[in-house]
Symmetry: C3
Subunit: 203 residues, 3 copies
């Protein structure tokens, strides 16, 4: 599944870019940009590894994730300066990153021996926790908790992967199907502004 590895690095880069852009809205210094880029990119996988007990966590074992996230964060700063960053591409890239992260998270949890329900949850957590930490660090109520079908797309992808693994499908097939489901749902949500009902309650 070498393609999945490259997609994983691609997702890491995309999430790092979203972290760097969030830093730009809060006037952080260059080091703050780096921190926010890296934390957004590796936060979800770190939480997954910590709760599963898979330590040292993945980016200690394979530091390439850190270097990719750092490089992508700095590159984002440069590109916004030279106005070469096509703003409309970012949500599409982010959707691909989300889809990749959620199925990888689900597959790794399953491989670590968790039950299917927990594996699906781990997929969602891997996909959304980085963005959640990014928003907390920049003082925002996390957007993933109130945006059009974001975590829901991750859940759909995770569940697809987990269900196919349960049915003894080959891992690569399970991962690709889950990835496509999450990607399709997220892109549809962006295109047609699909969203879950909002819960408002002020006693």
């Amino acid at each position: 599944m070498a393609v999945i590895f490259w997609l994983d690095l691609f997702g890491t880069a995309v999430f790092a870019a979203s972290g760097a852009l969030a830093a730009g809205r809060k006037d952080l210094d260059l080091f703050g940009v780096l921190v926010l880029a890296v934390v957004t990119a590796i936060g979800g996988g770190t939480l997954r590894d910590l709760t599963l007990g898979l330590t040292p966590v993945f980016w200690i074992e394979r530091p390439v994730y850190l270097w990719v996230a750092s490089a992508a964060g700095l590159l984002t700063v440069v590109l916004t300066r030279t106005a070469l960053l096509p703003a409309r591409l970012l949500p599409l890239a982010d959707a691909l990153g989300l889809a990749t992260f959620c199925v990888i998270g689900a597959e790794q949890a399953r491989a670590a021996g968790t039950g299917p329900g927990i594996a699906a949850l781990m997929g969602v957590m891997t996909g959304v926790a980085g963005g959640l930490i990014r928003d907390v660090l920049t003082g925002e109520v996390p957007r993933v908790l109130r945006r059009e079908l974001y975590a829901t797309a991750a859940l759909a992808g995770s569940l697809t992967t987990v269900a196919l693994l349960e049915l003894q499908a080959p891992p690569s097939l399970a991962v690709w199907c889950g990835l496509l489901v999450a990607l399709a749902l997220r892109l549809a949500a962006i295109r047609w502004r699909l969203s879950l009902p909002i819960f408002t309650h002020r006693p």
Copy 2:
């Protein structure tokens, strides 16, 4: 100690409800409600397990906690819609949840071999960390850090449990006494608005 297990699930449900209500004040979508409910309910125990090195964490080993928290979060949304939720019951239920979580946390830390001081601290952390994460995610300065005798009640309960365990009391007795102490102190604090002094300092 089957009763303690049921109380633990009850505390999980109550904390999930408080998370869902906090989500309702920030207009999160239904998935955001679920996340906030679950994180509030399991955050304290997760931090306890991670720092003690008890991984995979408890809700991976026993997913029933996740399902109870999710169900309680969704039920809270339904009940606020149908106006059946008696607002005055929630603080009482929350006090029972806090009391249960803190003594369970202390007892489990002791069973994991920590010293009595650390065990008492683990009890407090198990009781208050979920609410603390809930408030950070919704952009509030954590209420547990400035409310009437909240964490202090957890500390009193934890210390009682730990002291009795030190005196070779049977675990169930230690847990019940600690639970009653925490509950009584928290209810007294609600009734008579007892609180610690506030520290204000602006140089």
Copy 3:
């Protein structure tokens, strides 16, 4: 390296004081002051131990860190009341704490078997994560992400220590040189208001 141990406790006390002062700006109660003091003091080392898989984390193994942090937090409250706290000393003490934490973090990661790049990163994380959590809990965008050469000083110190360890220098020499580099850079940054460029981007 007994001196390093005492410096580590000193850094713990200083970071706890900065946590207590942050609590004073948000009108927390005395327990909230304690929590913020302790979390600021041990947050970085806790994150380091969790990601490295060194559990139970250091303050469970050696609770003296908790007692020092608690005592320093309470002492800070008393000193601000009696006007004995020289405001200009705190940044200097904080610089010493930062320098100590970052080289200890780097050295411990290296001892745990990580590569040099990860060890340098662990040093930075140990130095800055506590302050970062402090700011998140009090609802601020973390100052370490936008202040004059703060994390950068930690990085310089960590890299120095790691480089000397790579060159087979004795650990105590590596730690002391890294400490002096971080301290000098941080003090210079305070004195001459050195800072990294700010990244501002609002599409």
